[in-house]
């Protein structure tokens, strides 16, 4: 254990032992919130375990501060649209929930405020905030844009391999595949039989296609969306190798995989029909709960397999940032809420309730890793993650639509991987050109 982690753990233990958030220098959450008692903070939450965890902890925050948190629940697919419309119309949202691919968009439109506006205010900033305690990759990728931190990571994902140990053992394997090639060539034929499938890659035509399917196969094989000049890199040997691999791997997936979203893949795994899936850490609680999983006792977690270019696991997740459209009181109250929800002091409880924290200190306790089997793989994955796994600039909403359409067409065999990559590349470059990246009007963002 590093000295920093040791010190962080000691500090955390100290805070938990006192059972209060009062600090030695006199700062306390209740005192900081005193001027904002009665303020209502509007925030969008997703219908996912990480948000249920915060909601379950919320009464404690509201009782201590007198601040009311008004949660507007939304499925992921609607969350961006709802927020964009709210910000464009000058609506009521006080806290923005930002997927890592939305951060450039939100920051460039100045819909969110840099976090230092609040962290530099001693009345609001918790002395134990400890920004260095966040995994650097996660903080910068989820909450940062152009070197400025806007949001604090709240619902954090890395792609992990969920595998059914019982099915693998039955087929003669004593562990998961180490590489993607091994998964396809060795595990695929052995595990695909009798209505069971070796693997399922969620590929529905929405952000799932772009993030969980298309991008997941680019990076481990040495590919990427863009090259250093911001031109399409999808016809490069690495990108093509990854996309062709995806086509070849489909023979070991259920029919109609292009209609599978997270729910279908997780359910298929939980029903024992699929031996391995690569899914976000956020779905861990669903597959290990006997209430929602028939294979709860067989679930094991490993990092995603490696490709020729390394592990390069999928990276996704959210941060919460204060909305610029909120008034001063709502901004301050919103910040206090974000600070509390992402705090070191609450990280362990957040994990225990089904969330995935970005606090390094929270994972220092070996006992926690024994209870939550995803932790070692998650921590390892966040060392190898690629921040630009999906480009995070403002034009991503337009580009992801292009990737979704042509990525799915590739999988259906309507176009070859070369043809599809050419189509995506041409259309993607047209969007980037219109945005002014090639004329020098906008700097090459990543």
């Amino acid at each position: 254990m590093s000295l920093r982690k040791l010190l962080s753990s000691a500090a955390l233990a100290g805070v938990m032992a006192t059972g209060a958030t009062a600090q030695s220098d006199g700062w306390s959450l209740a005192k900081a919130a005193e001027p904002y008692k009665g303020t209502t903070v509007d925030v969008i939450f997703l219908l996912r375990p990480g948000y249920d965890a915060i909601e379950a902890m919320l009464p404690e925050f509201e009782a201590e501060t007198g601040i009311n948190i008004n949660i507007i629940k939304s499925p992921y697919e609607n969350a961006l649209g709802e927020q964009v419309r709210d910000f464009v119309a000058g609506g009521d949202l006080d806290v923005a929930l930002i997927d890592l691919v939305w951060i450039g968009n939100f920051a460039e439109n100045e819909w969110i405020l840099p976090i230092d506006k609040f962290t530099s205010n001693p009345d609001l900033a918790d002395p134990d905030l400890d920004m260095d305690d966040f995994f650097p990759l996660v903080l910068n990728a989820f909450g940062g844009w152009n070197g400025v931190i806007y949001g604090l990571p709240v619902d954090n994902y890395s792609g992990l391999m969920f595998y059914n140990r019982c099915m693998l053992e039955e087929a003669g394997f004593d562990g998961p595949p180490a590489t993607w090639t091994e998964l396809k060539d060795v595990y695929g034929p052995a595990l695909t039989k009798d209505g069971k499938y070796a693997f399922a890659l969620q590929s529905k035509r929405n952000e799932t296609q772009s993030a969980d399917s298309f991008a997941r196969m680019l990076w481990p094989f040495g590919g990427s969306f863009l090259d250093a000049d911001f031109r399409s890199n999808l016809n490069s040997p690495g990108s093509q190798a990854g996309l062709q691999f995806r086509q070849d791997l489909m023979q070991y997936m259920p029919d109609g995989i292009v209609a599978y979203d997270h729910a279908e893949v997780v359910n298929g795994f939980a029903q024992g029909d699929i031996a391995m899936i690569t899914e976000w850490s956020a779905f861990y609680s669903s597959v290990v709960s006997p209430e929602t999983s028939r294979v709860a006792d067989c679930v094991e977690i490993a990092p995603e397999p490696m490709g020729p270019a390394g592990r390069k696991p999928a990276l996704g997740g959210f941060s919460m940032a204060v909305a610029s459209q909120a008034d001063e009181a709502e901004q301050a109250a919103g910040y206090l809420f974000i600070q509390w929800a992402t705090s070191k002091a609450n990280a362990v409880e957040y994990i225990e309730r089904g969330g995935v924290s970005a606090r390094q200190s929270a994972y220092a306790d070996p006992a926690l890793a024994e209870t939550f089997k995803y932790i070692p793989a998650l921590v390892e994955s966040w060392q190898d993650g690629v921040p630009e796994f999906r480009p995070r600039f403002a034009e991503w909403p337009e580009i992801t639509e292009i990737v979704q359409e042509w990525g799915t067409r590739m999988m259906l065999g309507e176009v070859t991987t070369e043809e599809g990559a050419t189509e995506i590349g041409t259309r993607m470059e047209a969007v980037l050109e219109a945005a002014g990246y090639y004329s020098g009007e906008k700097p090459l963002a990543q």
Binding site: N206, D255, I257, L412
Partner: protein, 288 residues
Amino acid sequence: MRGQVSKRTIFAFVGPAVLGLALVGIAPLLYAGWTSLHFFNLTQLRRVEFIGLENYWTVLTDPSFRQAMGRTFFLLATALPLQLMLGMGIALVLHQPALTILKTLARLSLVLPMATTYAVVGLLGQVMFNQKFGVMNQLMGGADINWIGDPTNAFIMIIFWDVWQWTPFVALVLLAGLTMVPGEVEEAARLETKSWWTVLRYVQLPFLLPGLVAVLILRTADTLKLFDMVFTLTRGGPGASTEFISLMIQRVGFRAFNQGLASAQAIVLLIITIVLAQIYIRIFYKEV
């Protein structure tokens, strides 16, 4: 008598309706027209600029738009004839004398599909056409048909639901038309011939034409703006196999946030709808 009504009174009666129509119909249309002539992306509002007809050029040269339009008309060309044939059959059966109670029950049950919310139909479809536990595969003897994940099957599924939901509407409209046929004329025709087709073609059909034209116009417009059911059922997938024109407009306008391009697409769609309605009226009303 009309001369005795003051202009103020006329305005008081007609004015609110005209004003309401202008507010909810004309104003958004004019705004969409303005938007369609601009680069107007909700996430890049600082870059709003007049670009003339560029959005229209993009629409007309975009193969994805043409494919979506082709898909939409293919749906219309397959679902509408089925609805007309089945609807006519149901109307003729319900027009027969006797079995009054059964006919009343049948008429009432015809309303149920129409009364079901479009989005709910899509959600029902997701469950009923599920490959593993869906009732459709069970009814087909435990078949293992992948309805939602296969492009062709997904399209067939959309046709099925559209026919299921809107055949009753066609049947009720045509049944109303049949009741307009004077009883003595129909009775006299049946004494002249035993051919039901002859009675239908020369006696009943002229009374059905206004209803048929209304059905054609309404169902065409409905198909062109078909959204909710498909969105909840397939979301336009797999691939783009069920991405009809209104789903494409929603995707461009509210997921890619390109409101300018989406407005241009919507206005092109509006023009096509108006032209089709005019064609229907000119062709079919000539025969009335």
